[in-house]
């Protein structure tokens, strides 16, 4: 069984607890273990980088150093935490003076950054480590007929890490297809949900959320799946406010990709945290779940 150090991040403690539950359930079902860092701290979100970059890197380095102590690669389910940890590691690796300075601070907590643990987003574990074929082989409830819009958002893809194609990714569609659902093609799948603007410029963020949701709904999506707690909150919890401000009648469920996977793997909705959404999910998925469970493919 492959094991990763798991850094849930602040949102998954409460606001996105269903993401945490479903991440644990689905990785376990697919033979991967997520071992939670024993005393992780907030990665600084975007706000910390607005004020002080050095301190922001230090916060990230502390989490990375704890993973190194366990000799495990680090996995983050939140796109913001992932991006911060990934690029903090890059910065420390490429700037020995910076690493030395930060290591002096980490010594206060008996930690040390060496750069031995790699950083992954949770979706990468499913997309590249486990892979769509292995997922498909474990599917017991193919979600036939369900039209699902995969929403990538920003920070899984951007900024670029190397020379990879950030304009035409397919890995999220492949995961959706592995569940038996139909991945919906829509234009704004890589477009920003507004992120923290939901607080710092509410109307700008609401208009971005509106565009995204309308685009997915026009493409006849029954449901949207995300891989980030901030995207989920913006797209789902603010739908009512979008309707109020723009006179729209949006009512599309937004769940985590791990919840979708869990349903296809036959895990009961409740254990995946389904039911904690503000836009009800069951009406959209009931029909797909009612279809005869197929025997697990070999």
């Amino acid at each position: 069984m492959k094991t990763y150090a798991y850094f849930p991040g602040c949102s998954l403690e409460k606001m996105a607890y269903s993401y945490h539950q479903s991440a644990i359930e689905t990785t376990r079902a697919l033979g991967v273990e997520l071992k939670e860092l024993e005393d992780w701290n907030c990665c600084g979100a975007t706000a910390y980088f607005h004020v002080d970059e050095l301190l922001a890197f230090t916060l990230c380095a502390r989490n990375i150093a704890m993973a190194e102590k366990e000799q495990l690669d680090l996995v983050a389910p939140c796109s913001g935490c992932y991006k911060n940890a990934y690029f903090a590691r890059e910065a420390l690796l490429h700037d020995p003076d910076l690493a030395e300075h930060i290591n002096e601070a980490l010594a206060e907590d008996n930690l040390q950054f060496a750069g031995t643990s790699k950083i992954h987003h949770l979706i990468e574990i499913f997309a590249f480590d486990i892979g769509p074929d292995a997922i498909k082989a474990k599917v017991t409830n193919p979600l036939k007929g369900l039209r699902v819009a995969p929403y990538y958002g920003c920070q899984i893809l951007r900024p670029r890490k190397g020379k990879e194609d950030v304009e035409r990714p397919r890995f999220f569609e492949d995961i959706v297809a592995a569940t038996g659902a139909t991945p919906v093609e829509y234009l704004l799948r890589l477009r920003c949900c507004g992120g923290a603007l939901i607080i710092t410029n509410r109307m700008a963020a609401l208009s971005m959320v509106r565009n995204l949701l309308e685009c997915a709904v026009r493409a006849r999506a029954d449901l949207i799946v995300t891989a980030c707690p901030l995207c989920q909150v913006n797209l789902e919890c603010y739908q009512k406010q979008v309707n109020r401000e723009f006179g729209t009648e949006l009512n599309v469920p937004v769940i985590y990709f791990t919840q979708l996977l869990g349903l296809a793997l036959g895990i009961p909705p409740k254990r995946l945290g389904i039911g904690s959404e503000l836009v009800a999910v069951m009406p959209a998925i009931e029909q797909a779940l009612r279809t005869e469970p197929a025997p697990a493919a070999t």
Binding site: C10, E13, K14, M15, A16, Y17, D39, W40, N41, C42, A45, T46, A47, Y48, F49, H50, V51, D52, E53, L54, L55, F57, L59, R62, D95, D97, L98, H101, E104, A105, E108, D109, C154, Q155, R158, P159, R160, V166, E167, R191, C192, G195, A196, L197, I199, T200, N201, R202, M203, A204, A205, S207, M208, N211, C237, Y238, K240, R244, S276, L278
Partner: protein
Amino acid sequence: MSAVTSAQPPKEVDAGVSFVEEINHLLYAAKGNPINTCIQCGTCSATCPVASAGYMDNSPRRLIAMIRAGFKEQVLKANTFWYCASCYQCTVRCPRGIDIAELMYGLKRYTVWRSEYQEGLIGPSFSETFVKMIVRTGRSYEPVLATSYLFTYGLPEIIQEAQTATALMLKGRLPLLPARIKRLDNFRRMIRKIIPLGEPE
């Protein structure tokens, strides 16, 4: 010298250092090309979801033109960087390889250090509240954060926010108590190694 900027305000620059050089220094840590290489093609503005929806007073392309023309006052008072969502769409598409999103971060820090930003913005006080909270507990906590922006809202918005918060509360999605990390003493000592400014409270 580390390439990364620290908490102290940048030293007063020599009269010989132009604003554009100052900004390029800010970006020393970023991997992208300096902004002098900008060809003003407008790709960044066209691809920016915030600028193209009409919420920025100066588009990213225009802001870069203003920096290069030395319009320091106007640049620091622009809302562009505080309304940047850090989506990195401009960065990955710029034909000259300029890290525009990182420029926006740099300008946020620059204006926070100098306390020189457009009045009425939520971004600066939100960021400061966030930072204080993490230094105190090691974790973030939504209800405290809300206090940094709700007072700027009008009544209709407050009511909508309250309704959203109530709905989340009923679903058990809002924390009632702030979380804190276990080794908080070590954590605070670690922070004081980075910001040598007495108690971080």
